[in-house]
C-alpha cells in the first residue's frame, strides 16, 4: 500500500498556547522572551507582534522601542516539547502513528486512515478545523513522503494534498529551504542564485555532492520518494488506574475490603515495577443506582507499601454506602512520584522525617485527625523572636536555615508577650524586681540586655532590650523592655518566655 504522510506546522505554537491559557492576550501583540547574555531576547512573537515587524531573535528593548505597549512573557523553553507531545497524543485519534517534529510540527502516518473520514480532503479539513477551534494556526499538507508533506505544509498553500506520485512536480518551484537542510547550505544556495528545487534537480548530482555533501541529496531523495523514511511515533502514557468489575453486586464491607485488596495489589505491583510510589489515591465504587462512592488517601512520602496503604483506606471503608450494591471498583493513583532508592541501613534508624515508620505513623494519624492538625516548626532567619520560627508548609519541607543557638532562648515562648511591672535601675541595667500575675519575683541573677531592633521593613516600632533573669526560687524568665528608658515617656516591660 502506498504510504501517505501528513505534516502539520504550527505557525505560532507557543504564542497560540499562551492565548489559549490567557484569553486577554488574543487582541494584543505579545512576545515570549528568555535572558541571553544579560539581555532579554525574543523567542516567539504572536501574529499581531509579527505583523508589526517583531521577529524572534530581536532584543526586547528594541522591540519595545517599536511597540511600547508590547507585552513580554517569560518563555519556558521546555514547554514546546511537552506541548508537542500532548498534541501528538491527542492526534492519535486520527492515526495510531503520530510523531513529533521539533520544534513546531507533527508528523502523522496517515496510510489507510483517510477513508474513515470520508476521503483525504475531509480528513485534513477535519484536522485543520479542530486545531483552529483550539486556537492553533496550522499549515497542513498530505503527501506520499514526509519530505514533501513537510515542504508543502510550510511553503505551499493551506491544506495541500499532493496526489500520489506527484511530489516531484509539487516540489519543483519551492525554495531549497523546503528540503530540511542545514542553515549554512540554504544560505549558500541562496547566494549562488539557486532559489528553486527545480534548479537542484536539474544539476549533476556530483556537482551538488562536491559542494554541499550528501545531506542535500539524501533530503532530495527522501522528499521525492526515492529513499524510505519513517517516523518515530509517540507512546501515550497509561494512567495508573486499575478496574475490578464484579459479577455480582457487592454489598458487604468484607467484599469491599477484598476488592480494595485486589486493586491495591495490582496497582502496587505495577508501581513497584516502575520504581514509583503514590502520594494520593482515589478509590471509587460505582453503585447499581448510578451513584459513585469514593474514598481518598494521601501519604507524606511516595509509597507502594501494600499494607500501609491498605491501613490508610481501611479506616474509611465504613464511610462507603453500598446501598443496592456496587458493580465496579476502580483505584486510581492521581499523584505518583519516583520512589527514592533507599539504602539498607545496618545500624540506627534516624528519627527524622526520612524515617519510613515515622512517616507512615504520620499518615495514619493524619488519616484519623486530619492532616491540618499536624504542625511542624522550622527556623526562620529573623532576630525578632516572634518571627524566628515558622510553621512548615509541608511535613517534609527541607530546612534552609539552622536553629540559632548562640543566644539564650526560652524553652517556652509566649505567643504574645505579657505586661509585667518592674523595678529596674536606669537606663538599661537589668531589673531587680518584677510582678507577674500578682506574684512578686525578686531577681537574684540577670544577664543582658540583648538589644533587638524592630524589622523596619515589616513593622514600625521600638527595639526591645531582653534580659534573662533568675528569681530566688531558681526559676528563669525572659523579660524585655520595649524601647529606651525615657523619663518623659512611659515605657513598658513584658515577660516573653520561661527557661525552666
Amino acid at each position: 500500500m502506498q504510504k501517505r504522510f501528513i505534516s502539520i506546522w504550527f505557525r505560532y505554537l507557543k504564542t497560540d498556547w499562551w492565548i489559549r491559557r490567557q484569553a486577554v492576550l488574543h487582541d494584543k501583540p505579545f512576545v515570549l522572551a528568555l535572558p541571553d547574555h544579560g539581555r532579554m531576547v525574543i523567542t516567539a512573537a504572536n501574529s499581531l507582534a509579527e505583523k508589526q515587524g517583531i521577529d524572534p531573535g530581536m532584543v526586547v528593548a528594541d522591540a519595545r522601542a517599536l511597540i511600547p505597549s508590547l507585552e513580554v512573557l517569560d518563555d519556558q523553553p521546555e514547554t514546546s516539547g511537552r506541548l508537542l507531545n500532548a498534541l501528538a497524543e491527542w492526534c492519535i485519534r486520527y492515526t495510531p502513528a503520530v510523531a513529533i517534529d521539533p520544534p513546531d510540527g507533527l508528523l502523522l502516518d496517515a496510510t489507510g486512515c483517510a477513508h474513515l473520514w470520508g476521503g483525504e480532503k475531509s480528513y485534513i479539513t477535519e484536522i485543520h478545523k479542530r486545531f483552529k477551534h483550539f486556537g492553533y494556526d496550522v499549515g497542513i499538507a498530505l503527501a506520499d513522503t514526509i519530505g514533501a508533506a513537510w515542504a508543502l505544509a510550510r511553503f505551499g498553500q493551506n491544506d495541500s494534498i499532493i496526489e500520489s506520485g506527484q511530489q516531484n512536480s509539487a516540489l519543483l518551484s519551492l525554495p531549497p529551504a523546503a528540503l530540511r537542510i542545514e542553515a549554512s547550505t540554504i544560505e549558500r544556495l541562496e547566494k549562488l542564485g539557486l532559489r528553486q528545487i527545480s534548479q537542484l534537480i536539474s544539476m549533476p548530482r556530483s556537482a551538488l555532492r562536491r559542494r554541499f555533501g550528501v545531506q542535500i541529496l539524501e533530503r532530495l531523495d527522501q522528499a521525492l520518494g526515492y529513499e524510505e523514511e519513517g517516523i518515530n511515533p509517540v507512546q501515550p502514557i497509561e494512567p495508573y488506574q486499575e478496574r475490578l468489575p464484579c459479577l455480582e453486586p457487592i454489598v458487604t464491607a468484607t467484599g469491599i475490603e477484598i476488592a480494595l485488596q485486589r486493586l491495591l495489589d495490582a496497582l502496587c505491583h505495577r508501581l513497584q515495577q516502575e520504581q514509583k510510589g503514590l502520594r494520593t489515591a482515589l478509590f471509587k465504587g460505582y453503585r447499581m443506582d448510578g451513584k459513585i462512592e469514593k474514598m481518598e488517601i494521601g501519604t507524606n512520602r511516595p509509597s507502594c507499601n501494600l499494607n500501609h496503604l491498605f491501613k490508610l483506606f481501611e479506616t474509611k471503608i465504613e464511610t462507603i454506602e453500598p446501598a443496592s450494591g456496587i458493580e465496579l471498583f476502580t483505584l486510581e493513583a492521581s499523584k505518583v512520584e519516583d520512589l527514592p532508592t533507599v539504602q539498607e541501613q545496618l545500624w540506627g534508624n534516624k528519627m527524622d522525617l526520612d524515617n519510613v515508620e515515622l512517616s507512615e505513623l504520620l499518615d495514619r494519624i493524619a488519616g484519623k485527625i486530619g492532616a491540618h492538625n499536624i504542625h511542624r516548626y522550622i527556623p526562620a532567619e529573623h532576630y525578632w523572636p516572634e518571627r524566628s520560627f515558622k510553621e512548615a508548609s509541608s511535613l517534609n519541607e527541607t530546612i534552609q536555615a539552622t536553629w540559632k543557638v548562640d543566644r539564650p532562648r526560652p524553652l517556652q515562648l509566649l505567643s504574645t508577650p505579657e505586661r509585667i511591672e518592674v523595678t529596674a535601675p536606669i537606663p538599661d541595667y537589668p531589673p531587680m524586681l518584677f510582678r507577674y500575675r500578682g506574684k512578686l519575683h525578686k531577681i537574684m541573677k540577670a544577664d543582658g540586655p540583648e538589644r533587638i531592633e524592630a524589622e523596619w521593613w515589616l513593622q514600625d516600632g521600638q527595639h526591645r532590650d531582653y534580659y534573662s533573669v533568675e528569681d530566688e526560687d531558681g526559676h528563669r524568665y525572659w523579660l524585655f523592655r520595649s524601647g529606651h528608658y525615657d523619663a518623659a515617656k512611659s515605657y513598658q516591660w513584658f515577660i516573653h518566655g520561661f527557661f525552666a
Binding site: 506546522w9 505557525r11 501574529s47 509579527e50 505583523k51 508589526q52 515587524g53 521577529d55 524572534p56 531573535g57 522601542a65 517599536l66 511600547p68 520544534p103 494556526d137 510550510r154 511553503f155 518551484s173 519551492l174 525554495p175 529551504a177 523546503a178 530540511r180 542553515a183 540554504i186 544560505e187 549558500r188 541562496e190 547566494k191 549562488l192 542564485g193 539557486l194 532559489r195 528553486q196 534548479q199 544539476m203 549533476p204 556530483s206 556537482a207 562536491r210 559542494r211 554541499f212 555533501g213 532567619e381 529573623h382 532576630y383 540559632k404 548562640d406 539564650p408 544577664d447 540586655p449 540583648e450 538589644r451 533587638i452 531592633e453 523596619w456 521593613w457 527595639h463 532590650d465 531582653y466
Partner: protein
C-alpha cells in the same frame, strides 16, 4: 575624660558603611569630638574627603584603616608619623597589586614588614565560645601580634548589646591583663546616626545580593553602630575606664596629618645641571624663536616674561617640563598630539609646543589657566592619537616607573537609576516595578514624593513600602560604588608614589592607578597631567603619512597653509563630511548661515553648536547680529569688554563666568564654584541658591530679569558641556587642518578617514560617496590589489585612485589577509593558488561575498561556486582545477547589478556599482517622489515627497523631543525634521525603516534645506525587489483570516519561520541608521 571614636567605616568601604566621610565628620563636630578616625577596609580612599571636611570644621582626622588579612585577625592601623603613613600606603599597595582590581590580598608577614611606627588595634571575635571563653586560636594569634608590636598593640572592646556583653568584656579584660595588651574602647561605627541603619541594611543586601526579606542574620540585629555621644561611651565603659583612656593615648601618639604630605615633581628632566626654572626659561625662549623667528613680537615677550615669573613664584616649572617631556616623546615617535583646554591660554605652552594656538593672537589670558586667586595647581590636558595613546601611557610608566606614576581614580557614584535599581531590588520590588520606576526617573526631585509621577506610572503613591524605597533611594544616591580609572589623568612624583597614596591595579591590563580621584589630589595640591585620546589626530596623522607617500608632502599641524579662502569657501557650503567637529547635521546646517571666513569664526562655530549656547538661546541673536539683521549692542559698558568679540552674545564658558563676576558681583572663586556645582547638579541640587544670587545680583546692577535668566540657563548648559574659548580654539585648529586636507587632497582624506574608522558621524559608504563626488576614483576590494588598509594607487586625472582595503570587508581577520599578502608574490590566478597559500575556506567565502575575485575573472557567484568545492587536487595536480569540474557544465543564474549592490552592502556596507535607491527610482517617480537633489530647485514652503536610506537619527536633549533624520538617495542627502507629536505617531516607521519615504513641507533658508515631516512611510520592502524572489511563480501566501478586511500584509512571516533558519530579509542588509542623542 575624653573619648575618641577610633573605628569608623565610611561608605568608601563599599557596601559596608552607610554614611559619607563628610557626614561622619560633621556628626562628630556636632557631638563635640575633637578628633575622629576613619578606618575603611583595606583602603584610604575616603580619608581625603574626611580630611577636607575636618579641616573646614576645625577638628582633626586620625588617618587610619582597617586591615583585613587573608591569614589572620583584622586590625585597625593608625600611622603615628609620615614615615609610618608611607609604610601603610606601601602595605596597601602591595596587597592591591597582588590582587585583581577592587581586592587587596594581605598577609601577616606584610604587616610585620610595613608595620613600624604605627599603632594597631586588634579586633577580637564578636562572640565567646560555648564555654563562655575566647577561642584558644585567638589567644595564640594575639600573642603573636603582641610579640611583633609590643606596646603599639591594643585590643578593641565594643559593646554590641548582645545580651552577654558583661561576660564578654570581662573575658576580654582578663585576657588583656594576662597578656598585657591594653583594651581600647570603640563602637565599630558604620553610620553617623541611628536612622541610617535602614540604609546600612540595604547596602548589606546589595552586597550579599539578597533582599531585605531573606537577608536574615546577615543584617545587624540592632542599630547600635552609630556615632555615639562621648558621655554615652563613657557610661558604657564605666567599668573599664582604662579602655577609654587608651583612646586618648592613641590619639596623642597619632599626630600624623595629610597636611604633611609633600608632593614633589620629578626633577630628572633638566639638562646641563640647570634648575627646573632655568631649564624652562631656556626652553621657552628657544621655542619662541622656533615659533616666531628671531624677531619676537613685543606682546609675546611680555607674555612669556610674565608667565615665567608667575611659574617661578608658584614653583610650577617642573610640572611644565614633565608635560614638555611627554609631548617631546610623542613627537619623536611621530604621534600627533595637541594640548587642549585652558592650557591654550599659555604662551609658554605654545612655545614649548604643547599647544598649537598662539594665545597672543586671540587675547587669551594666562590668568584663566592658572591664577593665584584660585590657588589650584595647573591642569594641562593633551590629546594624543587614539590608536597610539597607549604608547604614551606606557612611556610614562616606563620613564618614571610604576612606583612613581599612576593614573588618577574616578569614584563612580551611585546615580539615580542605579540607586533605584539597587534599593528596589533589595526591597524586593518586582523587576517590572523597578523598570517602571527607573525608566520614568529623569531627575530625582521632591516631585517624586508628591505622587503625581507615581500615579502616572500606575503605582500607588500612598504605598508605604514604595515611599520607603524612594526615601532610601534619595539617601543612597551619590554613594561611591567603585573606583574606576580616570580617562587619562596621571600623577607623577619625585619620590615613590606609594609613599603618598596606595596604588592599585586598574581593570585594564598594564595600568595602575591611585586610590584618590582628582578632587582629592586637588585638595592636597598634587598635580596631574591628562593624557587623552582623540580619534581625529589618528586620522590626521594617517593623512600626513599617506600624503608623504603619494604626494611627497611633509605636512605637520604647524605648516598647513593658514587662512586659505578655498577652505573657508568649502566649509561655508557645508561640504564637511568627515571634517572634525563640524560634520554633524546641526553643524552642517549652521555653516551656511555663519559662513566662516577666518580662523576665529571656526572657534565660534565649534563653540556655538553646543548645549550651552543652545539652551541659553544665544545662537539666533548671534546669527542675526553677524548677518547685520540686528544692531550689535551691549547690556552695559562693562560687559562690552567681555562680549566684544562675540558681538555682544556670550558664547564661551569664560564669558558666562565673567558676567557672573562683573554683572552679578560674584567673586572669581564663587563663579568657579557655580560652574562646578552645575557639573554635578543632577546629583546634588544646590543650584537654586546660586540661581537666586545670580539673578538678584544682576538685577541690582540694572540688568533685565530676562537677560539674567538667559545667562543662568547658559551657565547651566555649560556646566556639563561647556567649551571654554581656549579649548574651542585648540579644536578649531584641527577643524581647519582636516578641512584643508579634505579641500586639497580628498583622496588622502577619505583614505585616512576610512583607515581610522569607526569615527565621527558617518558610515564608510558616505565617505566613499563623498570622495567620489569630489572626483576621487574608488576601486573595489580585490585579492590581487588590496592591502589590509585602504590605500592610494597611481594617479588618475587630478587625484590618486583609492583602493579599498580588506578592512572594509566584514568578518575578515587581519592575520589571514597578511598571509594572503605575503604569499602574493606574483598575482594569484586561480582559486587553488589561494588555497595553497593557506587561506581557509571560510575566508575565501568571505572574499567571494565581497566580490574580490574580479581580477581573476570571477564575479562573486562564480567565485563562491569555486570556493564551495570540497575536494581539491593535491601534490602533483595542485594548483590546477579539479578533474571533473570541467565536466560539470553547470550554469548559474547571472546576477543583476541590483543584486550585486545588495550583496556589496551586506559585506562591505557600501557599493561602488550603484546606489540602491537608483534601482527603484522608476517606482518612486510614479509616486511623484522627488530626488534629494531636486529639493534645492524647489521653493520654500512647497509640499514634497522624498525617499531615501536612513543614515542618522538624532534626538538631542536640547531640541525638546524633535527628531532629526538624514536620508540618502543616489543624488545626495536630505535633512528631515520630525516634531515630537508626529514622532510618537510614526514611531515605528522612524525606528524601523531602512528606506523611508516622508511627506512634508520644504523649509529653505539660504543653502539650508529641511523637510518638515507630516507623514512617514516605511518603504523598506521596496528594497526587496532588488533581489529576485525565492519562488516567484508561487501565489502570495496570505495568512490573514478571511474576515480581516485588511488583507494586505506588510510583514508576511519571514522565511526563517518555516525553515527554522535565521535568515536576514534583504532589506535588513542595509546598514541600520546610527542613533545619536
Amino acid at each position: 575624660m575624653n573619648y575618641t571614636e577610633l573605628q569608623v567605616t565610611s561608605n568608601f568601604s563599599f557596601l559596608r558603611g552607610a554614611s559619607h566621610p563628610e557626614e561622619l565628620v560633621e556628626q562628630a563636630v556636632a557631638l563635640g569630638y575633637k578628633e575622629i578616625a576613619i578606618t575603611d577596609h583595606n583602603t584610604l580612599a575616603g580619608i581625603v574627603r574626611a580630611h577636607a571636611a575636618a579641616k573646614k570644621h576645625g577638628i582633626r582626622i586620625i588617618v587610619g584603616c582597617r586591615l583585613d588579612l587573608l591569614d589572620g585577625l583584622s586590625l585597625l592601623a593608625y600611622p603615628t608619623n609620615g614615615k609610618a603613613y608611607s609604610q601603610i600606603c606601601n602595605l596597601l599597595t602591595t596587597g592591591n597589586l597582588r590582587a585583581e582590581k577592587g581586592e587587596c590580598h594581605l598577609y601577616r608577614s606584610d604587616l610585620y614588614q610595613y608595620g613600624k611606627d604605627s599603632k594597631f588595634v586588634v579586633l577580637p571575635p564578636t562572640e565567646l565560645n560555648e564555654l563562655f571563653e575566647f577561642d584558644p586560636s585567638f589567644i595564640t594569634a594575639l600573642k603573636e601580634y603582641r610579640d611583633a608590636f609590643g606596646n603599639d598593640l591594643s585590643i578593641a572592646a565594643t559593646r554590641r548589646y548582645q545580651g552577654d556583653d558583661s561576660k564578654y568584656l570581662y573575658q576580654l579584660s582578663q585576657l588583656s591583663s594576662q597578656l598585657n595588651i591594653p583594651l581600647v574602647a570603640t563602637n565599630e561605627v558604620h553610620y553617623h546616626e541611628p536612622a541610617r541603619r535602614q540604609l546600612q541594611d540595604i547596602v548589606t543586601c546589595v552586597r550579599e545580593k539578597c533582599t531585605i526579606y531573606n537577608a536574615g542574620f546577615r543584617l545587624h540585629p540592632n542599630a547600635e553602630r552609630y556615632l555615639k555621644p562621648q558621655e554615652e561611651m563613657l557610661r558604657l565603659f564605666s567599668h573599664y575606664p582604662e579602655a577609654i583612656m587608651r583612646t586618648q593615648e592613641i590619639v596623642e601618639a597619632c599626630q600624623f596629618s595629610l597636611n604633611e604630605l609633600k608632593y614633589e615633581y620629578p626633577e630628572e628632566i633638566t639638562t646641563d645641571g640647570r634648575t627646573p626654572q632655568e631649564e624652562l626659561t631656556f626652553l621657552a625662549w628657544q621655542g619662541a624663536k622656533e615659533r616666531y623667528g628671531n624677531d619676537l613680537p613685543a606682546k609675546t615677550i611680555t607674555a612669556i616674561k610674565h608667565e615665567l615669573k608667575f611659574i617661578e613664584q608658584m614653583n610650577y616649572a617642573a610640572y611644565f617640563l614633565t608635560v614638555y617631556d611627554i609631548v617631546r616623546f610623542a613627537r619623536k615617535q611621530k604621534i600627533l598630539c595637541q594640548g587642549r583646554g585652558s592650557a591654550a591660554n599659555s604662551t609658554v605652552c605654545y612655545c614649548l609646543g604643547i599647544t598649537s594656538v598662539d594665545p597672543t593672537k586671540f587675547d587669551l589670558l594666562f590668568e584663566r589657566f592658572i591664577s593665584t586667586a584660585r590657588n589650584e595647581p595647573p591642569d594641562i590636558d593633551v590629546d594624543f592619537e587614539h590608536e597610539r595613546r597607549e604608547e604614551v601611557i606606557q612611556y610614562i610608566y616606563q620613564k618614571y616607573g610604576r612606583d612613581r606614576a599612576a593614573i588618577v581614580a574616578t569614584v563612580t557614584q551611585q546615580h539615580q537609576k542605579g540607586a533605584v535599581r539597587d534599593v528596589g531590588k533589595a526591597m524586593g520590588l518586582s523587576v517590572d516595578t523597578i523598570n517602571r520606576l527607573s525608566a520614568s526617573i529623569w531627575e530625582f526631585t521632591d516631585e517624586w514624593f508628591e505622587g503625581k509621577r507615581l500615579t502616572e506610572q500606575g503605582l500607588n503613591p500612598g504605598d508605604q513600602h514604595l515611599r520607603k524605597v524612594l526615601q532610601l533611594t534619595r539617601e543612597f544616591m551619590g554613594f561611591p560604588r567603585q573606583l574606576g580609572q580616570h580617562t587619562g589623568g596621571f600623577v607623577i612624583t619625585r619620590g615613590k608614589l606609594c609613599d603618598l597614596v596606595p596604588v592599585m591595579n586598574a581593570r585594564m591590563e598594564d595600568r595602575t592607578c591611585i586610590e584618590w580621584n582628582k578632587d582629592d589630589i586637588d585638595a592636597l595640591g598634587f598635580m596631574k597631567i591628562d593624557v587623552l585620546a582623540l580619534g581625529m589626530l589618528t586620522c590626521i596623522r594617517k593623512a600626513f603619512d599617506i600624503a608623504k607617500e603619494n604626494y611627497d608632502l611633509d605636512l605637520t599641524l604647524a605648516n598647513i597653509p593658514q587662512d586659505d579662502p578655498a577652505v573657508y569657501e568649502m566649509i561655508s557650503h557645508a561640504d564637511t563630511i568627515g571634517v572634525f567637529q563640524i560634520e554633524s547635521r546641526a553643524q552642517q546646517s549652521m555653516l551656511p548661515r555663519l559662513k566662516p571666513n577666518c580662523f576665529y569664526d571656526l572657534v565660534i562655530e565649534v563653540a556655538i553648536v553646543r548645549p550651552g549656547p543652545i539652551q541659553g538661546d544665544m545662537v539666533h541673536p548671534y546669527l542675526r547680529r553677524r548677518n547685520n539683521e540686528e544692531p550689535v549692542e551691549y547690556p552695559s559698558k562693562e560687559l562690552e569688554e567681555i562680549l566684544k568679540r562675540t558681538l555682544g552674545v556670550p558664547l564661551f564658558q569664560e564669558q558666562a563666568m565673567k558676567i557672573a563676576i562683573v554683572a552679578a558681583g560674584f567673586t572669581p572663586a564663587e563663579a568657579d564654584g557655580l560652574r562646578r556645582s552645575m557639573a554635578t547638579f543632577k546629583a546634588k541640587g544646590l543650584v537654586t541658591q546660586f540661581q537666586e544670587k545670580l539673578i538678584r545680583g544682576m538685577m541690582q546692577n540694572g540688568y533685565t530679569q530676562e537677560y539674567a535668566q538667559r545667562v543662568f540657563k547658559q551657565l547651566e548648559g555649560f556646566g556639563s558641556y561647556g567649551f571654554p574659548e581656549s579649548h574651542a580654539a585648540s579644536f578649531a585648529l584641527l577643524v581647519y587642518v582636516s578641512a584643508w586636507i579634505k579641500c586639497y587632497y580628498p583622496d588622502v582624506f577619505a583614505c585616512a578617514l576610512l583607515n581610522s574608522m569607526p569615527m565621527g558621524f558617518y558610515q564608510p559608504a558616505q565617505i566613499v560617496i563623498d570622495a567620489r563626488k569630489h572626483g576621487v576614483e574608488v576601486m573595489q576590494v580585490d585579492i590581487n590589489h588590496s592591502d589590509w588598509d585602504n590605500r592610494l594607487q597611481e594617479k588618475s586625472e587630478k587625484y590618486c585612485r583609492l583602493r579599498l582595503g580588506f578592512r572594509q570587508v566584514k568578518g575578515l581577520r587581519q592575520e589571514d589577509m597578511e598571509l594572503l599578502m605575503v604569499k602574493r608574490e606574483k598575482s594569484y590566478s586561480s582559486m587553488n593558488q589561494l588555497r595553497d597559500a593557506g587561506i581557509s575556506e571560510a575566508t575565501l567565502e568571505k572574499l567571494a561575498d565581497a566580490d574580490a575575485f574580479r581580477s581573476i575573472g570571477f564575479d562573486r557567484r562564480q567565485a563562491l561556486w569555486e570556493v564551495s568545492t570540497k575536494d581539491r587536487p593535491v601534490v602533483l595536480f595542485s594548483g590546477q582545477s579539479a578533474a571533473d569540474a570541467k565536466g560539470e557544465n553547470v550554469s548559474l543564474p547571472t546576477m543583476t547589478t541590483s543584486e550585486h549592490v545588495v550583496h556589496d552592502y551586506a559585506v562591505t556596507s557600501l557599493s561602488l556599482k550603484a546606489h540602491p535607491v537608483s534601482f527603484i527610482r522608476e517606482k518612486l517617480d510614479q509616486l511623484q517622489i522627488v530626488s534629494t537633489r531636486q529639493l534645492s530647485s524647489l521653493k520654500n514652503g512647497d509640499s514634497v515627497k522624498v525617499a531615501g536610506l536612513v543614515l542618522v537619527r538624532q534626538r538631542p536633549g536640547t531640541a525638546g523631543g524633535v527628531c532629526f533624520m538624514t536620508i540618502e538617495d543616489e543624488t545626495g542627502f536630505a535633512n528631515v525634521v520630525i516634531f515630537e507629536s508626529l514622532f510618537e505617531k510614526f514611531r515605528k516607521e522612524i525606528l524601523q525603516s531602512r528606506l523611508i519615504m516622508v511627506e512634508g513641507k520644504l523649509q529653505i533658508e539660504g543653502e539650508v534645506i529641511h523637510v518638515i515631516v507630516k507623514r512617514c512611510y516605511n518603504f523598506s520592502s521596496l528594497l526587496r525587489t532588488l533581489t529576485p524572489k525565492n519562488n516567484e511563480n508561487l501565489p502570495v501566501l496570505t495568512l490573514a483570516s478571511p474576515d480581516d478586511p485588511n488583507n494586505y500584509q506588510e510583514f508576511p512571516p519571514a522565511l526563517n519561520k518555516r525553515s527554522q533558519v535565521r535568515e536576514t530579509a534583504p532589506e535588513k542588509i542595509f546598514p541600520e541608521a546610527r542613533n545619536f542623542k
